[in-house]
Symmetry: C2
Subunit: 337 residues, 2 copies
Amino acid sequence: MKDDRILLSHGSGGKKSRELTERLFLKHFDDPALLLLNDQAVMERPGGRIAVSTDTYTVDPIFFPGGNIGSLAVHGTVNDVAMSGAEPFALSAGFILEEGLPMDDLERIVVSMAEAAREAGVRIVTADTKVVSRGAADRIFINTTGFGVLEDGLDIGGQRALPGDRILLSGTVGDHGVAVASAREGIRFSTPVVSDSASLNGLVGVLLKSAGSGVHVMRDPTRGGLATVLCEVADQSGAGIEIREEAIPVREAVKGACELLGYDPLYLANEGKMVAVVSRDVADRGLEAMRSHPLGKDAVIIGEVTSDHPGRVVLRTVLGGRRLVDRLTGDMLPRIC
Amino acid sequence: MKDDRILLSHGSGGKKSRELTERLFLKHFDDPALLLLNDQAVMERPGGRIAVSTDTYTVDPIFFPGGNIGSLAVHGTVNDVAMSGAEPFALSAGFILEEGLPMDDLERIVVSMAEAAREAGVRIVTADTKVVSRGAADRIFINTTGFGVLEDGLDIGGQRALPGDRILLSGTVGDHGVAVASAREGIRFSTPVVSDSASLNGLVGVLLKSAGSGVHVMRDPTRGGLATVLCEVADQSGAGIEIREEAIPVREAVKGACELLGYDPLYLANEGKMVAVVSRDVADRGLEAMRSHPLGKDAVIIGEVTSDHPGRVVLRTVLGGRRLVDRLTGDMLPRIC
């Protein structure tokens, strides 16, 4: 493309918009539904119920170790759809671009989205671009809305946690939060921390195949982190949750960064991790199934659902103490996703 | 709510986010799927194919005569879905809020969205909120993604325009563009111009009932206006389009504003108007059907599809001249939707 920066006219709906669409978006997003260039996509009716999730991504910086706002926008929404137990099949993408955004940056982002979508096996079926003048937005924001098909018989949601259920976590926590925070602040660690940003639908498939209707809740601990997600599940189900601090995997580099920066890993965002609440009888084989998948190789059982302290989350500390875990208060780390 | 402005912590995913969700969004968006507070909505499988459309709204100013960014975000996406011939049934909503946005403004916007959704008969099934710091966005941006069910047998799209087809326009053009531009610039006209922002799914229903499979193309002339939409249809179908200038209804106040501000009404955005390309034999009854609906009472036939000048749009002027109509070049009016 001859323009190397985004111009206001790229958002006009006119010639320049068309150019941007043809030379950039259609080049990378080549779904037949999208290529029709209608304002909407029409898809064949999928079997089963439909799960829908929307998320807008405003991560700062837009490029960070392990990903960028584009790959994140695909991973994050694929994961939100997958956490319902649905198989994601399509995404829409809505861009807000700031005038002056380097075209190369936009292309890198779009390429990452296309790659992430291919890897996750989802189509990007419809898209929209708006451009605002310099200063009216910070470089680029992306909304993705995802659609999945939910098989009959599955009923997964925060409200379904039951006393006796085991709580599975697919791997280490805090990686995404620390990766973005350190990129933003320009901090270098001796061991670099890389975002865990990834699409979890494959891992979900493996877990559901093994543990089936024994899977009661699945959640991806993004904004607010593991602590906030568990509080939400306790709240939605009215059950208590007890977790063991020592069982929660945290990379040494993440621990170090948290000490340095004053973060608590339990509240840091993750973008490629999931929590599953499963019935006790399927916990072991669910764990084994997760560990058989590359994104779940460090999966662990971190605790259980209890009829004690209904609606509350309790952390049993390494020293044997018990601490009430609350939702995130205030904003530890804005624009993490 | 005790906070009268948006704080960064309202976007944290923690307590303040929860407060904002409960006290504002759930108060106005009360769909059972959304009330479950999962990260995604699950809906019963609809019959037929699914149409999906996404649009991000960045209109400036956020309140304008005849609407605001919230009602516009519902109308615009409902219309994009409806233009495929599908019956819209659900929307997602993704908000980007600037720190410091007055809570009252946000509530007015959310109330307008809820009202617009009710009027259009669509559910708002899932939503997301991000907050960015002051200066990183301009007050509020909203993405809505809409879903509709498309009956079997309907095949509507720009590629289907055929020589001999008639071109119907549902009413006056330019109202939205002038309303927003005058609100932005603080210009007052003796006759105020009000945006035409409205959901067109009812009007589409009436037209399809009357003209059925004789309806080949439906488009809402938003960004880029009537001229750009007709150019797109000519391009997609490879057919020529001829329209008569005198047939295109433009309000006197809009004409006056265009002369004053240097706009061409053919390129101004509309948010409650549609163009339908229908086969000749159903044109009269299609027109009559549109006129029977409040949003189509000023509907007219403005021209026809021709085998002359393939891929091009020609305007027959009031003085009898013929002028080639091109897409919008540059950006006449940024942030109009």
